[in-house]
C-alpha cells in the first residue's frame, strides 16, 4: 500500500524522495483473545486487510508486548510511540483495553547507484514528529466516535460483531482520506478558524439562530459557519472541534466542487425551482421536490450530561453561509419538517449570507490595503481553540497545501514540543538552515509561530519585526512580549 507520492529532481543524480505514508492501521483489544490460539479474536480491525493472518497476529502481539513492557516503568503512561529505522508506530488507548495502532513509514530518499546495483535507501528517521501523528491517531478515534459513539457503545449494542462491522465501515473510507504527508502543526492544535465579524452582524446571526430554534423546537443545537469558518456554536467546544474538522475537511469540500462547477455542469445539483432563496441541504435530501427523496441524515454523537447524545446532523447551506442543525436522533425526520425548515431557513439564511458578505467586504476595505499579510504565521489559542494560519492555503478534500517548506513546518512542530514541556511563557527564536527565521512565542494559553524570510536580519531586528506583527495583527488581545 505504500506509494511514492512526490518526486524531486536532485542536482545531478536522480533521487527519489518518498514522503511519510501509512503502512498499517489496526485496532485490537487484548482481553478478547487471552488464550493461545485465539489471538485472532483480539484483532478488531486491520488495515491493509490483505495481510496474511499470522503476520497480523505477530504485529499485534509485538505492540501488546511493547506496551506491556513499558508499563513496568510507568504504569500510568505506557509507550506512545516506537521509533525504528524504517517506520514509526503510534499507540493510543482511547478506551479501556482498546488499542489503536498506526504504523507510519519514515520518509526516505532513494539514491540510484551506478552499475545497476540496487538503489540505496536512506530513511529519514527524525523527520516526523510524535506530536503530529499522535494527534492524527487521536483524531481518527474522535471522528469515529463522532459518527458511531464509543467502542463500548457498539459492544453493548451488538458485541464484537457489530463493533468490527462499524470499524470496517468507518475506517475503510476514513483511512483513504488521511493524508499523512501533509499533516503538521495544525493537526496538533486541531483548532477552529473563526470568521471575523462585526458585532451587529453577529447579533443578527444570534437572532436568526434563536428564532429558528424557537420556531422549530426540535432543533437542539445550532452551529453557524461562513466561508468554512465558525461563527456560532451551540455545541460544546470539544464536540465542535471534531464536527468542525469533519465539516471543513470532508463535507464542505465535497460540496464545494459541484458549486464551483459551471451552471450547466452535470455536477451541479438540480436547483428545483427555488428562486426565492439559495438554500439547500448538504446532508439529507438533495432535492425536496423529488418524490423519491429520502429524509435520512447522518447521525452524530456528542457529549451530554449523562454520557453521550445521538443527534441528526442537518447541514443547510445558502451561498457561503452554512447552518448545522442538530436534532435528537429519537425523532423521525419527515418531509414536512424538512420543507418547513427549508421554507423558514432558506430565505433568512440567504439574506444573512449576503449581509455577512457585504459587511466582510466593507471591513476588508476599512482594514486597508495590506490585506495580504506579509507575515507567515500560525496562531493558536488553547482557551477557545481559535487558530489562524497564513501559511496554509485553502483546504480541499484532497490536500492541505502549505506555502512553506516542510523543514520549516518541522521546526514549528519542534518548538511546539518545547512549549508543551513547560508551563511558563517563553519565546524561542530559531535561525533555519535556509536563512529563514522562525519565532515561537507562548503567552499564557496562546501560541504564535512566525516565519520570517529576512536573510540578513539579526536577532534584534527579528524581535522587532515580531513585535510589529503582534501590534498589527493581535492588538486587541493581551499578548505579552
Amino acid at each position: 500500500m505504500c506509494s511514492a507520492t512526490s518526486y524531486k529532481m536532485a542536482s545531478a543524480m536522480q533521487e527519489k524522495q518518498y514522503t511519510p505514508s501509512l503502512l498499517s492501521f489496526f485496532i485490537y483489544n487484548p482481553t478478547f483473545g487471552p488464550r493461545e490460539g485465539e489471538e485472532e479474536k483480539k484483532i478488531l480491525f486491520y488495515h491493509p486487510s490483505d495481510i496474511e493472518k499470522n503476520e497480523k497476529i505477530r504485529n499485534v502481539g509485538l505492540c501488546e508486548a511493547i506496551v506491556q513492557f513499558t508499563r513496568t516503568f510507568c504504569p500510568t503512561k505506557p509507550a506512545k510511540s516506537l521509533h525504528t529505522q524504517k517506520n514509526r508506530q503510534f499507540f493510543f488507548e482511547p478506551e479501556d483495553n482498546f488499542w489503536i495502532v498506526m504504523v507510519v513509514r519514515n520518509p526516505m530518499i532513494e539514491k540510484p547507484n551506478k552499475d545497476g546495483k540496487p538503489p540505496t535507501i536512506e530513511y529519514q528517521e527524525e523527520e516526523i514528529l510524535d506530536t503530529v501523528y499522535g494527534a492524527v491517531v487521536r483524531q481518527c478515534y474522535s471522528m469515529y466516535k463522532l459518527f458511531n459513539g464509543t467502542f463500548g457503545r457498539a459492544m453493548e449494542a451488538g458485541g464484537v460483531e457489530l463493533l468490527t462491522q462499524k470499524l470496517e465501515k468507518f475506517f475503510y473510507r476514513y483511512l483513504q482520506t488521511l493524508h499523512l504527508q501533509s499533516c503538521d502543526l495544525l493537526d496538533v492544535f486541531g483548532g477552529i478558524s473563526f470568521f471575523p465579524l462585526d458585532k451587529m452582524t453577529y447579533l443578527k446571526i444570534q437572532s436568526f439562530v434563536n428564532r429558528v430554534e424557537e420556531s422549530l423546537s426540535l432543533i437542539k443545537y445550532t452551529a453557524f459557519l461562513y466561508n468554512d469558518q465558525l461563527i456560532w456554536s451551540g455545541l460544546e467546544q470539544d464536540d465542535m472541534r471534531i464536527l468542525y474538522k469533519y465539516l471543513t475537511t470532508s463535507l464542505f469540500p465535497r460540496h464545494s466542487e459541484p458549486e464551483l462547477a459551471g451552471r450547466d455542469s452535470p455536477l451541479r445539483p438540480e436547483v428545483a425551482g427555488n428562486l426565492l432563496h439559495y438554500g439547500r441541504f448538504l446532508t439529507g435530501p438533495t432535492n425536496l421536490k423529488d418524490p423519491e427523496a429520502k429524509f435520512r441524515f447522518p447521525k452524530i454523537f456528542v457529549t451530554a450530561e449523562d454520557g453521550y447524545e445521538e443527534l441528526h446532523l442537518i447541514v443547510y447551506k445558502a451561498m457561503s453561509a452554512a447552518a448545522c442543525f442538530m436534532i435528537s436522533a429519537s425523532v423521525e425526520l419527515t418531509r414536512d419538517f424538512c420543507e418547513q425548515l427549508d421554507g423558514l431557513v432558506g430565505p433568512q439564511l440567504t439574506l444573512l449570507a449576503s449581509d455577512i458578505c457585504e459587511q466582510f467586504t466593507i471591513n476588508r476595505r476599512i482594514s486597508g490595503p495590506e490585506k495580504e499579510p506579509q507575515f507567515k504565521f500560525i496562531y493558536f489559542n488553547h482557551m477557545n481553540l481559535a487558530e489562524k494560519s497564513t501559511i496554509h492555503m485553502r483546504k480541499t478534500a484532497s490536500v492541505c497545501l502549505t506555502s512553506v517548506h516542510p523543514d520549516l513546518m518541522k521546526i514549528l512542530g519542534d518548538i511546539n514540543c518545547d512549549f508543551a514541556r513547560v508551563d511558563e511563557d517563553e519565546e524561542i527564536i530559531v535561525k533555519a538552515m535556509t536563512d529563514y527565521w522562525v519565532v515561537g512565542k507562548k503567552s499564557d494559553q496562546r501560541e504564535l509561530y512566525v516565519i520570517l524570510n529576512q536573510k540578513n536580519a539579526n536577532l534584534i531586528e527579528v524581535n522587532e519585526e515580531v513585535k510589529r506583527l503582534c501590534a498589527t495583527q493581535f492588538n486587541n488581545i493581551f499578548f505579552l512580549d
Binding site: 437572532s207 424557537e214 482557551m383 499564557d444
Partner: protein
C-alpha cells in the same frame, strides 16, 4: 338703578338691573336630532322643568365607578367629577370651554351665581342683579372680568379685579343691525364678539370701564366655533354654511387664516344651510389643530355608514383634508379627544370607539383609519345619592351612560346638566392590552399614550412570560419599537446638551430641553421591571431567556444605544448559571458584550469556575487601553512579576508605576533572583529619571532599602509612631522594626525619649496581645478539648511580635555599649522599656535588669540602683539577687539588698543559707533555717564545713551539737546518717572535745 350693598370680597357684587332679553334661549339637550354632534359653548345647557330644588353642596360628592369587570372597558369617567346645581326652571347652567367653568345662574343671578371650575381656585360664588335672562356668561382668563350677554345687541361687563370699580358697563356691537351670536375671551382683557355679520375684536379697559375696538371683519356668519387652546375662531359662512373661515388671535392681533370648504355629501337644491355646527368640532391632536367633521352619509349614497373627516388646520398655509375615520355604523354620535385619541360615542349602541390618527393601518388606504379597538361602552359609573339628608350607607345609584341629557365638549368633557355633573373622560390602558392581539400595533398604540410606562412594561413581561411559541419575532418587534422611541429621546437630549455647551449665542432659537415622556423606556426600566424578574423565572427555558436578552441587546445595538453594564451582567449571570461558558466565550469573542472594566472584573471573578475567563478578561483590559493598571494588578496577583514589568514597559508606563507593588509581588514569589532583577530594574529607572538610584520617599520603598541593605537609614517617615504602626502590619517587619529602633536610639536626638516611649508601647502592645493569645490557648489546651467548643487554633507568632530577647539582642545590648551616648539617656531608655513592659503586664526578663544594673554599676550609680530596688522597679529574682551579691565588693549594701530580695522570694531559703554561710555567718544561717522550718532537711555538712572554716571551736561545737540534737529528735539517735557525709566532722569533733563529748544515743 343701582342698589349698593355691603361688599365682602369678590363674592358679593353690586348688581345692576338687567334688561330682559327678548331673544330666545338656546337650550339644547344632547344629543339632539339624529346624528347631531354636540358642541355647545357656554350657552345654557339645559333647562329642565322637572325639579325639586337641591341645595348647593360645597363639598364635591365623589362618585364611584361600578366595579364590574365583565367587559374590558377602556374608557371611564373621572373619579372626582365637578358637581354643580343641576339645571332647572330657576337655575340656568352655562359652560365655558375656555376656563372649563360651569356657571349656575339662579334667577338671572339675583339669587346667586355659582361658578365651579376644575379646581377649587377657579370656583367663585357671587350675586348680580337680574337684568334679564342671561344668554351667555364667561369670565376672562384668570377670572379678571365677567362678561354677560343678555341681549342680542350688547354684552355687559363686571370687573372682578380688587380695587377696581365693580359697576357693570356695557358694549354694543359696532355693526348696525347685527345680532351678537356670542363672544369669546382670547386674553384676560381681550374679547371677540361674533355677530351674524362679522366679528369684532375688542380690548377691555376695566379701570376706565370701557372697550376699544382693535379690529373687525365683516362676513356673514351662520354659526361659530372657538378653540380656546389655540385661540382660533371658526366661522361658518355662505348660504350652505360649508365654507369655514378660521381666525387666529394672539396678543391683541387678529389674523385671518385661509378658508376652506367642507365637502357635503349632498348638495341641496335650492341652497340652504346644510352644515350644522353640531357636526363640526375643533381640537388639537398631537399638537396640531384639526377640524373634525361628522359626515352622515345620506341614505341615497352608496356607503351607508358615517365617518369622521379630519381637516388639518395649520398656522400657516392651506387647510387640508387629512384623515378619515371609519365608523362603520350610523346613528347619533359625539366626539371627544382624550390623550390624542379621537373618541366617538355612539348613542344607540351605548358604546364608544377610539381612533389614533398616527397609527398606520397597513390594510387601509392612506389616512383612512379603522377603530383601534373593538367598540366598548364607558365603564359603568355610580353616583352617590344627593339630597339634604344623605344617608351614608345608602348605595350609590348607577348613572345612565350615553344619556340624552349629556353634553359633550372638547376635548374630554362630558356634562350631565340635569344631574349636575361634569366629568373628564379618561382612557384606561390596561384593558387595551388584551383587546389588541397584534403586539406590535399595541406597542405603537401604547407608546403614544400619556401614562403608558407601566402598561408597556407589563405587556413586555406578559409577552415574555407567556413563552408562547414563535414569540421571539414579536419580542424583537416590541424591543425595536421601544428602542426607537428611546433612541429618539437620547438623540434629542444629546443635541440639546451639545447646543447648551456651544452656548446660546450659536443656537439662534433657544432650544428646549427635550421632555422625557413615559414612552421612553430605558434600559434601567426594562431591567428593573421586566428582564431581571424574567431571568429568574424557573419555568422559562434558559435558551429562551438568553435569546430574549440577546434580542434586546441586538435591538439596542441596532439603534446605536450604548448597552448598560447590568444587562451584560444579566447575560453573563444567566450563562454562568447554566454552565454555558462556551457560549459566553463566543459572545465575548465577537464583542457582543462590549468591553468595560466592570465586565472585565466580573470575568476575572469567574476564573475559578471557568479558567479561560482569565484570558478573556486580560484581552478586554488590553483593548480598553485605559486599564493598564488593572492588567498589572492581575498579572502581579498571578505572580507574573516579570510579565507585568515587561507589559508596563511596553505601554510606556514604567516611569510612573509604583515600584513598591512590584517589589512586594517579587518578594512574595520567594524567588531571590527575581527580586533582585525587579529591584535593579527600578533602581535603573530611578537613575534615569532622577539621576540617582534611590527611591523617592513617596514610593514607600525603604523597606526594600533595608532589605537590600542599602542606605540603612533614610528618614522617610518622620513620625516614628506612625512608622511603627505601618511596620507592625507588614509581614517581614521584624528586622526592619529592630533597625528602626536602633536608629531612633542611636540618633540620640534631644527630645527623642517620648518617641522611644511611643515606639516601645506600640511594640509591647503587639507583644502583649500575642502572649495573651498564647496563654489562653494553653489554658484551653489544658482544660481539654471538651470545654472549648470550637477547636482553638494556636496563635501564630507574626514577625511583628518583638519580644524582650529580640530587643535585648538586636537593640539594647549594643546600645548600652555605645560610648557616645550619655548614660543618662541609656538608663532612661532602659527604664522606658521596662516601664512599657510593666504597663503591658509583661514579665520583665532578668537580662534586662542585668543590663540596667550593669549600666548603673558601670557608672557607679549605686544609689540609683538602690532606689530602683527599693521600689521594686527591678523585680525580685534569684539571679538578680545573685547579681547583687556579686556587687557587694564594690557596693556593700548590695549584700543586704540581695538578701532582702531572696527573703522576699521565699523560695530562696537555700540561697540565703548559702549567702550567710559564705559570709561565715554560720549561726545566723542556722537560726535562719530554723526560723523558716528548714532545719530538719538542711544539709548538716554545709554548716559544719562553714563552722570549721571559721576556726572558731566553740562555734563548731555549737553547730555540731545542734545537729546532733536534730538527729536525736528526728531519728532517736544523735548519730549522723551515712548519706550526710559528716564522718569527717565527727572525727574532728572527737579530736577537739573527746569521745565523751559526743552525745550518747538516749535510751529513752
Amino acid at each position: 338703578m343701582d342698589t349698593s350693598r355691603s361688599k365682602s370680597g369678590l363674592n358679593s357684587l353690586s348688581t345692576s338691573s338687567l334688561e330682559q332679553s327678548p331673544a330666545g334661549r338656546r337650550s339644547s339637550g344632547l344629543p339632539g336630532t339624529s346624528g347631531a354632534l354636540k358642541a355647545l359653548r357656554s350657552r345654557r345647557l339645559l333647562l329642565s322643568v322637572e325639579s325639586l330644588l337641591r341645595r348647593w353642596n360645597p363639598e364635591p360628592r365623589t362618585g364611584a365607578r361600578m366595579t364590574e369587570p365583565p367587559q374590558q372597558h377602556y374608557l371611564e369617567l373621572s373619579e372626582n367629577p365637578v358637581q354643580f346645581e343641576h339645571a332647572s326652571s330657576v337655575n340656568n347652567v352655562f359652560f365655558d370651554e375656555a376656563n372649563k367653568q360651569v356657571f349656575a345662574v339662579r334667577s338671572g343671578g339675583a339669587t346667586g351665581v355659582v361658578v365651579k371650575g376644575p379646581d377649587d381656585k377657579s370656583s367663585v360664588a357671587f350675586r348680580m342683579d337680574d337684568k334679564g335672562e342671561v344668554k351667555c356668561i364667561k369670565f376672562s382668563i384668570g377670572n379678571k372680568i365677567l362678561a354677560v350677554q343678555r341681549t342680542s345687541k350688547s354684552v355687559d361687563f363686571i370687573n372682578f379685579i380688587p380695587d377696581y370699580p365693580h359697576t357693570e358697563f356695557s358694549q354694543e356691537c359696532k355693526t348696525k343691525n347685527a345680532n351678537v351670536l356670542g363672544f369669546c375671551w382670547t386674553n384676560w382683557n381681550e374679547i371677540v364678539f361674533i355677530t351674524d355679520q362679522g366679528i369684532e375684536f375688542y380690548q377691555v379697559f376695566p379701570d376706565k370701564r370701557s372697550l376699544k375696538l382693535l379690529k373687525n371683519q365683516s362676513i356673514n356668519v351662520n354659526w361659530y366655533q372657538y378653540c380656546p387652546e389655540t385661540a382660533v375662531i371658526l366661522l361658518s359662512t355662505t348660504v350652505q354654511g360649508n365654507i369655514l373661515q378660521p381666525f387666529a388671535f394672539r396678543n391683541g392681533t387678529m389674523s385671518k387664516m385661509s378658508k376652506f370648504e367642507i365637502e357635503l355629501p349632498v348638495i341641496p337644491k335650492p341652497a340652504k344651510l346644510s352644515l350644522s355646527e353640531r357636526d363640526i368640532a375643533m381640537a388639537t391632536i398631537y399638537g396640531q389643530l384639526y377640524v373634525m367633521y361628522l359626515k352622515h352619509h345620506s341614505r341615497t349614497a352608496n356607503s351607508p355608514s358615517a365617518e369622521v373627516v379630519l381637516y388639518h388646520l395649520p398656522r400657516e398655509g392651506a387647510c387640508k383634508k387629512s384623515h378619515v375615520l371609519k365608523l362603520n355604523t350610523t346613528g347619533k354620535f359625539a366626539l371627544n379627544i382624550v390623550d390624542n385619541l379621537v373618541v366617538v360615542h355612539h348613542q344607540s349602541s351605548q358604546t364608544s370607539l377610539i381612533f389614533d390618527i398616527n397609527l398606520k393601518e397597513p390594510d387601509c388606504a392612506v389616512n383612512t383609519h379603522q377603530p383601534v379597538l373593538p367598540a366598548r361602552s364607558i365603564h359603568p359609573y355610580r353616583m352617590p345619592l344627593a339630597g339634604p339628608a344623605v344617608v351614608p350607607s345608602q348605595p350609590p345609584v348607577p348613572c345612565q351612560l350615553y344619556s340624552s341629557s349629556w353634553s359633550v365638549f372638547q376635548p374630554d368633557i362630558i356634562i350631565s346638566a340635569s344631574e349636575g355633573y361634569l366629568w373628564y373622560l379618561q382612557v384606561k390602558l390596561h384593558p387595551t392590552v388584551n383587546l389588541l392581539q397584534d403586539k406590535g400595533k399595541l406597542m405603537d398604540f401604547l407608546l403614544r399614550r400619556r401614562d403608558c410606562k407601566m402598561v408597556i412594561l407589563s405587556v413586555c413581561s406578559q409577552i415574555l412570560e407567556g413563552g408562547v411559541k414563535g414569540s421571539l419575532p414579536v419580542v424583537a418587534t416590541v424591543f425595536d419599537k421601544l428602542n426607537q422611541v428611546y433612541k429618539e429621546y437620547l438623540e434629542a437630549e444629546q443635541s440639546y446638551t451639545v447646543a447648551m455647551e456651544s452656548g446660546p449665542s450659536r443656537g439662534s432659537a433657544a432650544q428646549k430641553r427635550p421632555v422625557r415622556t413615559q414612552a421612553v423606556i430605558d434600559q434601567s426600566d426594562m431591567y428593573t421591571h421586566v428582564l431581571s424578574s424574567f431571568t429568574e423565572r424557573k419555568e422559562v427555558s434558559h435558551k429562551f431567556v438568553i435569546a430574549v436578552l440577546m434580542e434586546y441587546i441586538r435591538s439596542l445595538n441596532q439603534h446605536q444605544i450604548t448597552v448598560q453594564h447590568y444587562l451584560y451582567e444579566l447575560v453573563i449571570k444567566t450563562l454562568v448559571q447554566h454552565n454555558l461558558f462556551y457560549m459566553l466565550h463566543q459572545f465575548l469573542q465577537y464583542h457582543v458584550l462590549s468591553d468595560s472594566k466592570p465586565l472585565a472584573c466580573l470575568l476575572l471573578s469567574l476564573e475559578s469556575t471557568y479558567p479561560p475567563a482569565h484570558q478573556l478578561s486580560l484581552d478586554m483590559l488590553k483593548r480598553l487601553s485605559t486599564a493598564n493598571d488593572e492588567i498589572v494588578e492581575v498579572l502581579l496577583s498571578k505572580q507574573q512579576v516579570l510579565g507585568a514589568l515587561r507589559f508596563i514597559r511596553s505601554v510606556g508606563g514604567h516611569d510612573n508605576v509604583s515600584a513598591r507593588k512590584f517589589l512586594d509581588a517579587a518578594r512574595q514569589t520567594g524567588d531571590q533572583m527575581l527580586f533582585y532583577t525587579v529591584f535593579r530594574s527600578f533602581q535603573q529607572r530611578n537613575q534615569r529619571l532622577r539621576g540617582s538610584p534611590a527611591f523617592n520617599p513617596g514610593e514607600h520603598c525603604y523597606l526594600w532599602y533595608l532589605q537590600v541593605k542599602l542606605h540603612p537609614t533614610v528618614n522617610l517617615l518622620q513620625d516614628k509612631g506612625k512608622l511603627m504602626d505601618f511596620l507592625l502590619r507588614r509581614r517581614d517587619c521584624k528586622m526592619v522594626i529592630l533597625s528602626v529602633c536602633s536608629q531612633i536610639l542611636e540618633g540620640g536626638v534631644k527630645g527623642s525619649l517620648p518617641v522611644v516611649a511611643t515606639v516601645f508601647d506600640k511594640l509591647n502592645q503587639v507583644y502583649k496581645e500575642y502572649l495573651e493569645a498564647e496563654q489562653s490557648y494553653t489554658v484551653a489546651m489544658e482544660s481539654g478539648p471538651s470545654r472549648g467548643s470550637a477547636a482553638q487554633k494556636r496563635p501564630v507568632r507574626t514577625q511583628a511580635v518583638i519580644d524582650q530577647s529580640d530587643m535585648y539582642t538586636h537593640v539594647l545590648s549594643s546600645f548600652t555599649e555605645r560610648k557616645e551616648v550619655s548614660h543618662k539617656f541609656v538608663i532612661a531608655v532602659l527604664m522606658e522599656y521596662i516601664r512599657s513592659l510593666n504597663q503591658h503586664q509583661i514579665t520583665v526578663q532578668h537580662y534586662l535588669y542585668e543590663l540596667v544594673i550593669k549600666t548603673l554599676v558601670q557608672h557607679n550609680l549605686f544609689y540609683m540602683l538602690h532606689q530602683f530596688l527599693q521600689y521594686h522597679v527591678l523585680s525580685d529574682s534569684k539571679p538578680l539577687a545573685c547579681l547583687l551579691l556579686s556587687l557587694e565588693s564594690t557596693y556593700p549594701p548590695a549584700h543586704q539588698l540581695s538578701l532582702d530580695m531572696l527573703k522576699r522570694l521565699s523560695t530562696a531559703n537555700d540561697e540565703i543559707v548559702e549567702v550567710l554561710l559564705s559570709k561565715q555567718q554560720v549561726l545566723g544561717a542556722l537560726r535562719f533555717i530554723r526560723s523558716v522550718g528548714g532545719h530538719d532537711n538542711v544539709s548538716a555538712r554545709k554548716f559544719l564545713d562553714a563552722a570549721r572554716q571559721t576556726g572558731d571551736q566553740m562555734l563548731f561545737y555549737t553547730v555540731f551539737r545542734s545537729f546532733q540534737q536534730r538527729n536525736q529528735r528526728l531519728r532517736g539517735s544523735p548519730a549522723f546518717n551515712p548519706g550526710e557525709h559528716c564522718e569527717e566532722h565527727v572525727v574532728h569533733f572527737k579530736q577537739l572535745f573527746g569521745e565523751q563529748a559526743l552525745m550518747k544515743p538516749s535510751t529513752v
